[in-house]
């Protein structure tokens, strides 16, 4: 295939990728968008297979790789539970990072094939681009592995901190920079792998101090990194498609990280330095609540009775709903209440769950129509005329201390105004504070009723009470 034709194919693929993202502006157009993405990827792969110098043996090798990887990917994607989505995405990011490292390695050992010089005499500029590709790729890999382990519960979601952690990371960062400079100057193979190793270690160390509930930011950020890694490799081998797509993905991940940080009123630096909620959480969890008014605990029957007579109910789902897998039974409850004449709406906080848009996917899985689900800005004015706010597995995102208490760790975070509803139900397993380690004064208000127990079990009991 001529160079012009392959460049043209890459251009078409780039446009299709842009259309794939464009489609996500609305659920109606999103499925077609995803189709555009698949076609674009198909075109890119086929066009590359016709690259000159591609021998029969090479094509067999490539098709074997595509078949093995494709089978694994398809099986995993079909079997995965929707609640396990965040860790799946993290695992997928790690693969892109690792693939980038291997492509860089291949380019390093066979520079002639990519037109970037000869073995041992690779162009300086290509070495710079290559080292950026390896470093970002390797950090993406090990960082995503840690994010995966935390999200999948394979390691504790609690922040892992130790003395001098940030100095160590800073030192390693500087060392990485020095290694890159020496690598560019000498083109040494040993340094290539040292850069990769050090970046693996750095990715690992950068993510361990970040707590479980900050994972939406981490996952978005790693999403962004995987894009920059692809773009870095694109510069190295002079491939337009890699550069364009890498930039699209990098920009997308960066925007998502920004949105997530804004949803918590924290800077990205604050999130990345980690350790959030680790000390406070332990102290407040013990609970010095002696001087508080007593908490009003209710039974599922009470809740069912009150909601039966309600006109407007706003449901606030959080990570607790995902953990308990309560979305299905929650929708059953909503259906029964609709039959009683109530209006049901769902309110989603930007950082609810463990990845951007996590709650929306879970509600969609339970067949909740997307036009009943609202974002924070849209729904907040409506709490004032709601009879019931039904908070299931959420805590910090409803805490009014974010608006009133300047000393609070969550001060300034936008919250869902559930306190304005006539009655607030909290489904919680116990009185412990949320991730931020801040106590929620709402629990002690007279119009709040606590429903203690597992989110799924309590909701099931409400459903049974409603059916009676």
């Amino acid at each position: 295939m001529g160079a012009t034709l392959s460049t043209l194919s890459y251009l078409v693929a780039s446009v299709l990728f842009i259309l794939a993202l464009r489609g996500l502006s609305h659920p109606e157009t999103s499925r077609r968008g995803n189709m555009f993405g698949m076609i674009g990827m198909g075109i890119a792969i086929v066009a590359t297979l016709f690259h000159h110098g591609m021998g029969f043996g090479g094509i067999v090798l490539i098709l074997a790789g595509l078949a093995i990887g494709g089978t694994v990917g398809t099986v995993v994607a079909q079997r995965i539970q929707m609640t396990a989505l965040p860790q799946l995405v993290a695992a997928f990011h790690s693969l892109v990072g690792l693939a980038a490292v291997f492509v860089a390695a291949s380019a390093f050992y066979a520079p002639e094939s990519f037109g970037i010089g000869t073995r041992g005499h690779i162009h300086t500029q290509s070495l710079v681009e290559m080292s950026l590709g390896i470093a970002i790729g390797a950090i993406t890999f090990s960082g995503s592995v840690i994010a995966f382990a935390k999200l999948a519960g394979k390691m504790s979601g609690a922040p892992i901190t130790f003395n001098g952690q940030h100095w160590l990371n800073l030192g390693l960062g500087i060392l990485l920079l020095v290694l890159i400079i020496v690598f560019v100057a000498t083109g040494s193979g040993v340094l290539f792998w040292l850069i990769a190793l050090l970046s693996f270690a750095l990715g690992f160390l950068l993510i361990i101090p970040i707590g479980g509930a900050d994972m939406p930011v981490v996952v978005s950020m790693l999403n962004s990194y995987s894009g920059w890694a692809a773009a870095g490799i694109g510069f190295t081998i002079g491939n337009l498609l890699l550069i364009i797509t890498g930039a699209l993905v990098g920009a997308s991940g960066a925007i998502l990280s920004y949105i997530m940080c804004k949803g918590m009123n924290r800077s990205i630096i604050n999130v990345l330095l980690g350790g959030f909620g680790s000390e406070g959480g332990a102290a407040a969890g013990g609970g010095d609540v002696g001087d508080r008014p007593p908490v009003k605990a209710g039974s599922p029957e009470d809740a069912a009775y009150m909601m039966k007579n309600a006109q407007k109910i706003i449901v606030v789902p959080g990570y607790g709903m995902a953990v308990a897998q309560a979305q299905q039974v929650l929708r059953e409850m909503a259906d029964l209440l609709k039959k009683e004449g109530a209006e049901i709406k769902y309110a989603i906080h930007p950082v609810a769950g463990r990845m951007p848009g996590h709650m929306n996917v879970l509600l969609a899985e339970a067949n909740v129509p997307y036009d009943e689900v609202f974002e924070l800005e849209e729904i907040n004015p409506e709490f004032a005329d709601a009879d019931v706010a039904f908070v299931i597995g959420a805590n910090d995102v409803t805490n009014p201390a974010a608006k009133t208490d300047k000393s609070s760790a969550i001060y300034g975070m936008p919250i869902l105004d559930v306190e304005r509803a006539k009655t607030v139900f909290f489904i919680k397993r116990g009185m412990s504070s949320g991730y931020a380690g801040v106590e929620n004064e709402l629990f002690y208000r007279p119009n709040t009723m606590m429903l203690f127990g597992d989110a799924k079990k309590v909701t099931q009991e409400i459903v049974q009470a409603l059916q009676r």
């Binding site: 021998g55 398809t74 997928f92 890699l242 797509t245």
Partner: protein
């Protein structure tokens, strides 16, 4: 001015011209790799920056409800790195370079199929009221 003098001057001028030409050739030779390296880089950088802007504007238009599928799609398309992997596995010289390419193709393929499939599953669930 006699003919001999004229001839001598002409010879000197010719020599000087030859020298200048040689100098110019040397300069061009020295400049060529720099220019060759700089121009495509600037061209690639331009495209990269423009693509960042396109990404920025397109992604701000994505509805927050679809942020999870957005991650799925961007994850799938970031495995376009498979293009580099295919070139490495199919055209690189040397066994090591080919093996690295093969591993990269396999890893990227997991992502391509997995990413698009899981996004398709997610998007299939988003339904409107009454449908």
């Amino acid at each position: 001015m006699n003919p001999t003098e004229l001839a001598n001057q002409a010879t000197a001028a010719a020599h000087r011209a030859l020298e200048l030409a040689e100098q110019a050739r040397r300069m061009a030779e020295a400049a060529a790799p720099v220019a060759a390296a700089a121009e495509p880089f600037l061209y690639l950088l331009t495209i990269f920056l423009l693509a960042c802007f396109v990404g920025y504007h397109v992604v701000w238009n994505v509805t927050p409800a679809l942020h999870s599928p957005l991650m799925g799609v961007t994850n799938a398309i970031s495995s376009v790195i498979v293009v580099g992997a295919i070139l490495a596995a199919g055209t690189a010289d040397g066994v090591a370079a080919r093996i690295f390419g093969f591993i990269a193709v396999t890893l990227a393929a997991v992502n391509i199929f997995g990413g698009f499939m899981v996004t398709r599953r997610m998007l299939a669930m988003f339904k409107k009221k009454g449908s």
